[in-house]
Symmetry: C2
Subunit: 121 residues, 2 copies
């Protein structure tokens, strides 16, 4: 068990030192220091969160909410730093997902094919 | 990036060698080799899966389905090997969750308090 934890801390440290994380941190700090950009991104994330919560509760968002979300998405897409930050977040999310696949390989070998292949067998 | 992958493979290997995983594998193989136990567990998992899918779609399971699920849960609980396997699966799930917390610490430092503390701040 202690060896697992040691290896997890080593991986965590490698992730922190990685180019991918360092770039994310720079972009995140850049947005945090720009009051207008920060407010724009906060608003966008709040609207996204509200839409997700409605979807999870099986509720239909109103036309106004959808229009508002689309407008805010276009705004953040046009903001250079925010759009870079969102791309970098997407990249980190892919990295983490790849790491999880590698780490849980022993369990996948035990229980069968990986999730994404299930329907095709 | 390659260092992250190397560290993830080392962690995966440590997980495979761990007492926790080896015990899970032994119990899993024991059930696989016991036709009656295997059928009992498969039935239980299928009923659980159906109930989960209904819940996710916002549907209410029927009284019969709930009763059936409870009966099957009692059956697998009383089966020594299956109940041990399910306990071991729970333990592995806790291990994986702990590992994920360690690995994603850099991201939590960037984005704020961990999920479980959010409401309390
Ligand atoms: Ca199997
Ligand atoms: Ca922060």
């Amino acid at each position: 068990m202690s060896n697992i934890h040691d290896k997890a801390y080593e991986l965590s440290s490698a992730l922190r030192d990685s180019e991918e994380f360092q770039q994310l941190k720079e972009l995140h700090d850049e947005v945090e220091q720009d009051e207008v950009a920060k407010r724009m991104l906060d608003n966008f994330r709040n609207v996204q969160l509200e839409l997700q919560q409605k979807q999870m509760q099986g509720e239909q968002p109103s036309e106004e909410e959808i229009t508002q979300a689309q407008k805010q998405f276009e705004m953040v897409q046009q903001h250079e730093v925010i759009s870079k930050l969102m791309q970098q977040e997407q990249q980190l999310s892919t990295v983490i997902s790849d790491l999880n696949k590698i780490i849980t390989e022993p369990l996948e070998e035990l229980y069968g094919v990986p999730e994404e292949n299930n329907g095709q067998q």
